[in-house]
């Protein structure tokens, strides 16, 4: 560890030996105990009359993958730029990797500990992948040997080592994105910010990038991920925050689902008749029912307790069921509900 780091704890280097007991990493107790990597309180940014980010408070622990979800213009990029001290905050406070955001004396130390993949890759297209990484590694103050080692490890990991001397301008979008992620990692930062890493990529390139992020997650690297892909957030993130100028909600994908959207039970019938529907309406009251052809969706609070009751009611009403299963809402349902329900400032 270089001197003068304001970081809390170190992790194994990029591509280094992977921790063996994966269960330990995902143990909620371990996550809860981890030191805070990001601690923001009331973070606000205004551009003239426009409030782009309004009193956002959030905490990200070491080793956690945190996703900031929100539609275009929600303030995701602005939030990341404030946290990385690229732009000033209008008010609020934040500590990132133990450094105080907005404190001029902490600024350079902060930038040594974080890596950022900006919204636009911003590579030097006339230069090679190797030269791009080399430049940033030198700016990060790495000595020549460490730098060479890191670049090789990263480019090999990204399967770009063979192409390292070609100008980046000749790369595909997915390859460029990987080089940009490698650039963010070249100095082995403790905290990585990824601003929409798979936006504008074709599905295959998006998958390679996503797999790579999962690889980083297995290394217990702390990642702050901006995305508007719910699916991506759900697959990668330990916790997500839903942002629309204000942070509407924070929690694990499962928590958000349960909290915001009671569960539903799906019942499929061999056949459906008017009397059956009427009988079920009586027996299952006051639950909300929704028929879709031969399929019935029943809103439930507690599927464990209520599903046996539903099965009994169906049999008692003379229904022949072919399937009965608990349906969890997708994060997408939760997200759309939140985004549409709460107007900013409401």
């Amino acid at each position: 560890m270089r001197p003068g780091k304001c970081v809390v704890r170190s992790r194994p280097p990029v591509g280094g030996p992977r921790p063996q007991a994966l269960e330990v990493l995902f143990d909620p107790a371990v996550l809860r105990a981890g030191p805070q990597m990001i601690d923001a309180e009331g973070l606000t940014k205004t551009f003239g009359d426009l409030t782009a980010v309004d009193r956002v408070s959030l905490r990200v622990r070491e080793g956690e993958v945190f996703g900031l979800l929100g539609p275009n213009g929600a303030g995701k990029t602005t939030t990341v730029r404030m946290l990385t001290s690229l732009i000033s905050k209008s008010s609020g406070s934040a500590t990132v990797a133990g450094c105080e955001v907005g404190n001029a004396r902490d600024e350079l130390r902060l930038r040594r500990q974080i890596g950022i993949l900006p919204e636009n890759v911003g590579l030097y297209e006339a230069a090679s992948a190797y030269q791009n990484l080399e430049y940033f590694g030198r700016l990060q103050g790495l000595d020549a040997a460490t730098l060479r080692g890191n670049i090789e490890r990263l480019l090999r990991m990204m399967e770009l080592w063979e192409k390292r001397d070609l100008p980046v301008g000749s790369y595909s979008k997915g390859m460029k994105q990987k080089v940009a992620i490698a650039r963010a990692l070249v100095h082995d930062p403790v905290l990585l910010f990824l601003d929409e890493p798979t936006a504008n990529l074709d599905p295959e390139a998006a998958k390679t990038v996503r797999d790579f992020i999962l690889e980083l997650k297995r290394e217990r690297r702390t990642i702050f991920l901006n995305t508007h892909h719910l699916d991506e957030a759900e697959r990668i993130c330990d916790r997500v925050g839903i942002l629309r100028t204000r942070l509407l909600r924070v929690g694990s994908p499962e928590q958000l689902r349960a909290e915001l959207w009671g569960n539903r039970t799906l019942v499929r019938f061999a056949s459906v008749s008017e009397p059956l529907q009427a009988a079920l309406r009586d027996r299952l009251a006051p639950r909300h029912l929704e028929w879709q052809g031969r399929t019935l969706l029943v809103e439930v609070r507690d599927a464990e307790r209520e599903n046996p009751e539903i099965a009994e009611a169906v049999l008692a009403a003379g229904g022949k069921l072919t399937e009965l299963s608990a349906l969890a809402p997708s994060l997408e349902d939760v997200y759309l509900k939140l985004i549409h329900e709460k107007e900013p400032g409401a």
Binding site: T84, L86, I87, G122, L123, Y124, A127, Y135, F136, L139
Partner: protein, 246 residues
């Protein structure tokens, strides 16, 4: 301000510039054209045209040719500085650059040096060749070596570097306000206008470009450059770059 960091930025920019043929062409072509072209012209006038040029006139002629190195110092860095700022804007590479532990001042100084150093080297190299060739061509007619002299010393050591710095700062300011390399270069090309004007004023005798006047002009220019430097520091602040630059 860490000079090592400044140098990393400058050498990276110099590396990228080497690949731009339009820039290297100007960097090499202009000084050579002046250094070889004018002595050839004088050689022709003195020895081949049959025209009789009095040696009193010859000095004025050589001085006015020397001033072309000032014009060069105003034009050469414009392309480089515009490219090194607007190029980053176009490639959107300023954001990752600003995310490294490098201060705004270090980046700005690195970019300034990347435009300034090759310009000054080109002007000095060209002027050296120019002086050698001019001496060869004129020494018989004049009966002495015209160069080196104080005027050229002031031009090379004070005026040209200041003019180059002025052009770099002006280009940086202009580059921060436009979004493509071409318009940056076209606008920044206006930088050389005051020096052409100065040249004309010198030629018609309003402001004789003698050593004393050249020193005065250099002094005044130094003040202007300081002002521009403060302005470009102001412009080149990460908050402005990411939120206000187009």
């Amino acid at each position: 301000m860490r000079l090592s960091q400044v140098w990393i930025v400058a050498s990276h920019d110099l590396g990228l510039l080497r690949r731009r043929r339009s820039i290297t062409a100007g960097l090499v072509g202009f000084p050579i054209a002046v250094a070889v072209g004018f002595p050839l012209l004088v050689d022709y006038l003195l020895h081949r045209s049959g025209a009789a040029i009095p040696s009193s006139l010859l000095g004025g002629l050589i001085d006015s040719f020397s001033f072309f190195f000032v014009i060069g110092a105003a034009t050469i860095p414009v392309g480089i500085a515009s490219y090194s700022i607007v190029g980053e804007k176009v490639e959107k590479s300023l954001e990752p650059l600003l995310a490294t532990p490098t201060t705004d001042g270090e980046i700005l100084l690195g970019k300034t040096l990347a435009a300034l150093l090759p310009t000054i080297l080109a002007v000095w190299a060209g002027a050296t060749l120019f002086m050698i060739l001019m001496d060869r061509v004129t020494s018989k007619t004049l009966g002495y070596l015209y160069f080196p002299n104080w005027e050229m010393a002031v031009i090379l050591l004070a005026l040209a570097p200041l003019v180059a710095l002025f052009a770099v700062e002006a280009s940086i300011l202009i580059s921060s306000r436009v979004s493509d390399v071409r318009s940056a270069q076209q606008l920044s090309a206006l930088v050389f206008f005051p020096f052409v004007l100065l040249y004309v004023l010198g030629e018609i005798g309003v402001v004789p470009l003698d050593t004393t006047n050249l020193l005065y002009i250099s002094g005044a220019l130094a003040l202007v450059v300081l002002g521009l430097f403060a302005l470009s520091r102001e412009t080149f602040q990460r908050d402005n770059i990411l939120t206000r630059w187009q």
